[in-house]
């Protein structure tokens, strides 16, 4: 739609026309403010916590074990240098004999959700899969935070 609108504006004499191609979905996924009737609806991004343990691909398993130990989530997220989410390492998979790096032991490409996903929808997804947490990422795939299932409880 917007490409056609942009072209139409040029035919109407507008001289400096720009097309924000990623659109409203991109804006919402970044957690940016909006206006309108639904602007205040609760979104999972509002509930995302930043206290998740992280590590790099090359970090030794011994280090990964140490960062997961105090974590309330039981896992560590593996990030690229720029912050993109690459994988997850769960405490339950780190037996005492395991060596190597985070890259060797991680589960690549964990599922993520967008910032603007509605709370009821995420609650339903987590319940269906019996999951306790969801990972929130930006449109670029950078880690935003983690949402806990218990934080989605309906106050109703």
């Amino acid at each position: 739609m917007s490409p056609r609108a942009a072209c139409r504006l040029e035919t109407l004499g507008f001289q400096h026309v720009y097309d924000y191609v990623p659109g409203k979905s991109d804006w919402l996924a970044r957690g940016l403010p909006t206006e309108g009737e639904q602007a205040d609806r609760p979104r999972v991004g509002h509930l995302a916590r930043k206290d998740v343990a992280t590590c790099r691909l090359g970090d030794r398993v011994e280090h990964v074990r140490e960062v997961i130990k105090p974590s309330p989530y039981g896992f560590c997220l593996v990030l690229a240098e720029g912050g993109a989410l690459l994988g997850r390492v769960r405490w339950s998979t780190l037996d005492d004999e395991l060596t190597g790096t985070a890259e060797d032991v991680m589960t690549p490409g964990p599922s993520t959700v967008r910032y603007d996903l509605s709370v009821p929808e995420l609650r339903a997804r987590l319940d269906k899969r019996e999951l306790k947490t969801a990972i929130v990422t930006t449109p670029e795939g950078d880690l935003f935070g983690v949402v806990r299932r218990r934080d989605l409880e309906d106050p109703g």
Partner: protein, 67 residues
């Protein structure tokens, strides 16, 4: 040819006072839209409906996404 932009350029243009237009139907605009955007649905994009816009100043249009 209109320039295709992403979030960083959009922010720069908005900081510079660009006009912002959502071209989705009114109901979608009413639910939620970018701050400061006005609504001119694509089906209604004509000389009269765009007359309030300044043709000499930058205008950014957007819809839902790439599709």
């Amino acid at each position: 040819m209109p320039a295709r932009i992403e979030i960083d350029q959009l922010r720069d243009l908005l900081d510079s006072g660009a006009q912002l237009v959502e071209v989705l139907p009114p109901a979608e605009y009413g639910e939620e839209h970018l701050p400061g955007a006005i609504n001119i649905p694509l089906k209604q994009l004509e000389a009269d409906t765009t007359s309030l816009l300044d043709q000499r100043n930058p205008v950014v249009v957007y819809c839902w996404d790439y599709l």
